[in-house]
């Protein structure tokens, strides 16, 4: 549904994106993570046929981003980083204006707009001027604008930024519904738990190119290694650890705690417990150390810092 190969964009002497390739299947949600200035917005703008790539090519919904830009803009909904509303208009007036640009009839626009306002927990607010809306409400209107023409592809740049937790949850739920509805979505975000909970796959972009890509689990395995386990025993460890090296890779040893990695905890952990019990050590606790997406992200960002 979205296919980019070797995409690059240079603004005069500044290269914002280079050699970026990605693929998003129909109904899939790809989260694009990256630090500020990494090239996320430029990538989204190129995929949204707003900016022309300097190098490479991309197809969205079967259309070339350069040759069929108008078709892409018709079939795609975009939430920009800042909602950019016209504050003197009411919510409904605003959406009628945008709906007309997509060739929708006024009746259809009103029907959809009112439904979406209710869905985003803002019933009745569409008659009020947008200037009276809170930041979160404005962001939701931006999302409604992107969804109004029922697009097959959605490009969402920071959809929950500036939202209170309740509003953010509503938006996330809506995005989840859109994904379940087999829409193709690219989600740019700094919110790592949001990316992990919503996305099918994650791509980390840094300095204009993708430096890591995969599901959250794949990325953790690829970048952080085997699962890490921490085990606590009931007395001081005195050299018993050396005997464990045949079973696991010991990473750190404390007074009565060891942390190790193992490719298959379901097999290794019972063996290890039996071994320690045999040595007369009582196992107090055994748990897998949580490796968050944040660890992955920081690992990737730090690793490529000086590249």
């Amino acid at each position: 549904m979205i296919e980019a190969v070797g995409l690059g964009k240079t603004f005069d002497e500044f290269t914002a994106v280079y050699d970026l390739s990605l693929s998003v299947q129909a109904g899939e949600l790809l989260a694009l993570l990256g630090p500020n200035g990494a090239g996320k917005t430029t990538t989204v703008r190129m995929l949204g046929a707003i900016l022309r790539p300097t190098t490479g090519h991309a197809r969205v919904n079967g259309h070339d981003v350069v040759l069929e830009a108008d078709k892409i803009r018709h079939s795609m909904g975009m939430l920009t980083e800042q909602p950019g509303l016209y504050l003197r208009m009411s919510g409904l007036e605003y959406l009628v204006f945008y709906g007309r640009l997509y060739g929708l009839s006024d009746d259809l626009i009103k029907k959809r707009a009112i439904n979406l306002f209710e869905r985003f927990n803002m019933p009745g607010a569409y008659t009020r001027r947008l200037g009276e809306y809170s930041k979160g409400m404005r962001q939701k209107v931006g999302l409604i604008r992107a969804m109004l023409h029922d697009p097959a592809v959605l490009l969402l740049d920071e959809p929950t930024s500036a939202m209170d937790p309740h509003s953010a949850k509503l938006v996330r739920d809506a995005i989840r519904e859109l994904r379940d509805d087999k829409r193709t979505i690219i989600l740019c975000t700094h919110n790592l738990p949001e990316a992990e909970s919503l996305s099918d796959r994650i791509a980390i972009i840094k300095r204009g190119t993708i430096v890591a890509e995969g599901t959250a689990i794949e990325l953790k395995q690829q970048l952080l290694g085997q699962p890490q386990i921490e085990l606590q025993v009931d007395r001081y460890l005195n050299g018993e650890v050396e005997d464990l090296s045949d079973l696991v890779t010991v990473e750190w040893v404390g007074e009565n705690t060891i942390r190790y990695r193992t490719p298959d905890p379901t097999v290794t952990n019972p063996q290890l417990v039996r071994h320690l019990t045999g040595l007369g050590l009582g196992v107090v606790s055994l748990y897998e150390v949580t490796q968050s997406l944040e660890d992955v992200y920081l690992h990737v960002v730090e690793e490529t810092k000086d590249v």
Partner: protein, 502 residues
Amino acid sequence: MESGDSCCSPVSDSELIIMTAITTLLPRKNDWQMAFIVTRREVRDAFRDWRIIIPIFLLTLAFPALMNFTAGRMVGFVEEYGADIIANQLIPFLLLVVGFFPMSFSLVIALETFVGEKERKSLEPLLATPLTNMQLYMGKMMASLVPPLLASYAGMTVYLIALKLSVDWSPTWQLFVQTLLITTIQGFIMVAGAVIISSQTTSVRAANLLASFIIIPMALLIQFEAVAMFWGNHSGLWWLIFGLVLTALVLMRMGTAIFNREELLGRDIDQIRLGWMWQQFWTRFSGKSETGYPNPVAWYRQTFAILGQLRVPIVIMILALIGGAAAGVIVGRMYVLPAGFQAELRGDNIVRNLEQLEMLVGALPYVILAQNVRVLLLMALLGVFTFGVLSILIFMLPIGLIGYIAAQFALAGQNPYTFLLGAILPHAVIEIPALLIAAAAALRWHITVISPPPDRTLSEGFLIAAADFVRLLLGVAVPLLVISAFVEAYVTPQALLHMYGG
């Protein structure tokens, strides 16, 4: 695009620019429909802004009343001294002023609607819609023009009705139509200028500062119109209107070329990037590629390939050449030299005058070369600010002069062809192609501002065309001009002597 690539293209850059200019100037029905959606929203938004509505309202009703009062007092005053003619000449100007004041708001609205929207970040969502650049431009242009134009027309109507009732004055139809046209076209010029300014800035503040480039010429224009009206030269105003229409068209064409998604979103910082500019220029000028600098033969091969892209500018310049010569002949017939000067055109006098030049012949090639290069540089420089108009006119000037002199030869009973063969042809066969190539490259450079190449930003296109001009100037035109200068200094006089039997 490297010059080598474009040599094989079936359509040259210049042809593409002309085709793009023509096609993008002709909106279709759907363009109007989409533009009206934008206009309707913008106008509605403007009418909700008291900062725009109150001044427009005051200028529509209060200002015409003030002007009416002024006109009434003035008529009464000058009648006391029997100088009715002064009032008759000033009242039409007041009509123009009444129309212009509300119209001047179009500049404020345009800056607000173009750069203001960019500053408030509401432009990007619009750019993500199916609107084309042209539709968006048209919509915003109409939105900037409609409220001030309506206010302007309303103000003029109020003024004229009141004037009719108070001092029984009404304009001639010609004056009325001229005032309406001048007011309307001035609005177009201000808005089109505002679009160009807006696309080059990132804030309303910066745009307001740059707006003086519009306000000052408009103020000068109003003064010029005041003089024309006071002089009573109303038929001359048609020429002014013609000039204004051309200016508006050029600015609008430039606006449609600049007002595109790339330019609007690609420019985040208002910064002069001299390093980048030099790099762009030098890379194009030197022909540098990933493999390094080309050798002189390859450089010349690339330079000659640029000529292939200059077909349309060369045709334009040839037409200007012919037009200049024809204009020279026509002017020559209209303004005949006095008999004493005509006598100087006889063969024996020419031979005598040539003999006097012999002592200067050593310095002559350098003087001729310096003059030709100076003219080319002047042409290039002035063309930048006039979208090539002055460069064409300057190119026509010497040819026009030759046409004029040839006509004088004919009127003096001499054979003009003898003069042309002896005094012009020997060096012109080298000089005219050299000037033609440089002038065509300069023209292509100048029109990139109005119509940049589709695959480049405005600044890139401008720098590349400038580099092409300098390349052809230094690589082709100047060497040819050196040769022609020596031919003109040493060969042409001999040919002239031969023709006139010296």
